[in-house]
């Protein structure tokens, strides 16, 4: 199957490695935040929390819930039962891509805490969302389905 070209059978494992990816990612987050910030009714702490929640929601849904690869419509082989996070770099741990994606939610959390002045309500919400996206990224949770959730 000629999916990724150059013998790349599953581009899910490679496009995050491509050049300018980290920069584009940061720009994307900034644009998202500025758009939310420009909504008149939202205060600055609220805008940061919303940005963080959207960011973590995207991480959770696209990296940890949806399985398979959109590039290979028919026979997905191994990747059918793996989430995108588990497919990255063919399951190799602590590669640069993985480090980057692991660090971003935490850095986002720090920024949010900073701009919400550690307000308890904001802190709680953001911390819970952080747990949801950081735990499944740990190598100990590789291919682990807690309570059989999202198993098939």
């Amino acid at each position: 199957m000629l999916v990724g070209g150059h013998g790349d059978s599953n581009p899910n494992t490679s496009w995050l490695k491509s050049r300018g990816m980290w920069f584009s990612y940061t720009i994307g987050m900034l644009v998202l935040h500025l758009i939310i910030l420009s909504v008149p009714l939202l205060t600055v702490p609220l805008a940061w929390t919303i940005t963080n929640l959207i960011h973590n929601l995207i991480h959770f849904v696209f990296l940890h819930i949806i399985k398979g690869a959109p590039w290979i419509p028919q026979d997905q082989g191994e990747s059918r039962r793996l989430t995108h996070w588990e497919q990255i770099d063919n399951g190799r741990q602590f590669t640069k891509t993985r480090k980057f994606l692991m660090a971003t939610p935490i850095i986002m959390f720090f920024l949010t805490c900073f701009y919400t002045k550690n307000d308890p309500n904001h802190f709680a919400v953001n911390f819970v969302s952080l747990v949801f996206v950081t735990l499944p990224k740990l190598p100990q949770f590789h291919e682990v389905r807690l309570f059989g959730l999202n198993k098939y």
Binding site: T95, M102, I106, I107, F110, C113, P120, L130
Partner: protein, 465 residues
């Protein structure tokens, strides 16, 4: 409050009146980031070997054979090579033999008209038909053949397939689906068995030509149906039989089968591969032989590869039934259509069938005479049991002792070959439903004269001794 004031808040201010748990959590997270950043990459999983280690591993490796070596008794070792045209005589391993091994019952392979019409057709249409019937593969001769076949069988419509085997194995699953019930004779040929597999229906086998066994099965099914009438209303019941059974050479008991299928509301499918062109006054097959109206049978499936001396197959029945196969017959939809030259050959064969009824009489006479000769010969009857009806052009000779059957048969066949007679033994796959006892299969054709028949008997007697 402006956004600017938020940007320049001093750090100390943030932690001034905040519970210490928040601070601890954030310190932990900071440590986590540090751990993530300074953690080394996992090894790639590729271990590097020295050249010596590599050489050692390679020398140790012994390849498995791709295919297991076949036993010495395998048919593949017994190479029988035929040369030239196959007609009344056949050249096997350089010996010119009388041919009792191919299914050309009417001897149409020897007809010059069929050959010349096929050659003409190549000049007009070329070799292939370039696609399946639904995708640019239909040529006018296909339509003509279908029309002619339907007219010949006195039915509404015919559908032509490119291969005899796939005719039968795709016609059955075109109608029978999961949840349906099919009643089948246990000695049906392999094509029917494959069709049954593909249908995913529930298959119920009855003993060969045993009407009582079939009726018992039908009664059981009727009892089951009466328990759950809702399900029974949606279950279709089929009966699949052969006109003349390839594996035994026996005729089916069609009158009984038709009356049973009317009584128990079965749809009856008949595989007439052997009986087409050999039974009945006009060669219309088993229905004509038993004087049963063709409309009593729901579908007739036939190969054109036997008496019709061409390639392919066809199904005939009412338009309502047959039309369904043009979209649901897998062999019809997805394989390239019959090459025009073979189609014209089949049309010419049909011409001959229509105009020369005496051919069928001649064939039936030869079959009956040969049957009598076999029964009269004490030597043959001491060794073999003769299976098959006298009118059937296929006859099976089964060895009486149940010893090392297959090899005995092989030696008899090779002896016959040296005495200029080509016969074959039956070959079955292990996966077949019921593997019959191995036997010699004799295929009779119309061109055999009385002298030929006596010679065949003499050769067989000598080979057996």
């Amino acid at each position: 409050m402006t956004a600017m004031s938020f940007v320049f808040i001093p750090f100390t201010f943030i932690f001034n009146d905040v519970a210490s748990i928040y601070v601890y959590l954030q310190i932990m997270l900071a440590l986590l980031i540090l751990w993530i950043i300074f953690k080394k990459k996992d090894p790639n999983g590729k271990c590097k070997l020295t050249q010596e280690e590599e050489a050692e591993l390679i020398s140790k490796w012994q390849p498995f054979p791709l295919v297991k070596p076949a036993p010495k008794s395998h048919r593949g070792y017994d190479k029988r090579v035929t040369e030239g045209k196959i007609g009344k005589y056949i050249n096997v391993n350089g010996i010119n033999c009388l041919n009792l091994s191919s299914h050309d019952f009417l001897g149409l392979n020897e007809e010059k008209i069929i050959e010349s019409s096929a050659i003409e057709s190549i000049r007009k249409y070329g070799i292939g038909s370039c696609g399946p019937r639904g995708f640019f593969g239909t040529v006018d001769v296909h339509l003509e053949l279908e029309e002619r076949l339907a007219k010949f069988m006195d039915l509404e419509e015919a559908v032509v397939y490119a291969y005899g085997f796939s005719t039968i194995s795709s016609a059955i699953p075109a109608y029978a689906k999961r949840g349906d019930v099919i009643f089948v004779d246990e000695e049906v040929n392999f094509a029917i068995q494959k069709g049954l597999d593909a249908s995913r229906s529930e298959i119920k086998y009855f003993k060969h030509n045993d009407m009582k066994d079939l009726e018992e099965l039908l009664l059981k099914q009727a009892q089951l149906d009466s328990k759950n009438t809702k399900k029974a209303a949606r279950t279709r019941r089929f009966l699949v039989i052969e006109g003349i059974y390839m594996k035994t050479g026996r005729l089916c008991n069609l009158p009984e089968l038709v009356s049973l299928s009317k009584k128990y509301k079965l749809r009856i499918f008949v595989d007439e591969s052997i009986s087409f062109g050999t039974l009945g006054k006009n060669g219309k097959g088993v229905t004509e032989h038993f004087n049963i109206p063709v409309t009593d049978v729901d579908l007739i499936m036939t190969s054109l590869e036997m008496a019709a001396a061409s390639v392919g197959g066809f199904c005939v029945g009412s338009s309502f039934i047959v039309e369904h196969q043009r979209l649901s017959g897998l062999g019809y939809c997805f394989s390239a259509s019959l090459p025009p030259l073979l189609t014209t050959a089949a049309i010419k064969a049909l011409d001959i069938l229509e105009n020369r009824h005496e051919l069928i009489d001649e064939l039936q006479n030869v079959c009956c005479t040969f049957h009598q000769y076999l029964l009269k010969s004490d030597i043959i009857m001491n060794c073999f049991t003769l299976i098959g009806d006298d009118i059937s052009p296929i006859k099976h000779l089964r060895l009486r002792n149940n010893g090392n059957n297959v090899q005995d048969l092989g030696s008899i066949i090779s002896k016959c070959e040296h005495m200029n007679l080509a016969i074959t033994d039956t070959a079955y796959l292990d996966i077949e439903k019921k593997t019959p006892i191995p036997s010699i299969k004799l295929a009779i054709n119309r061109l055999l004269t009385n002298d030929d028949l006596i010679r065949v008997i003499n050769i067989l007697e000598k080979a057996v001794c």
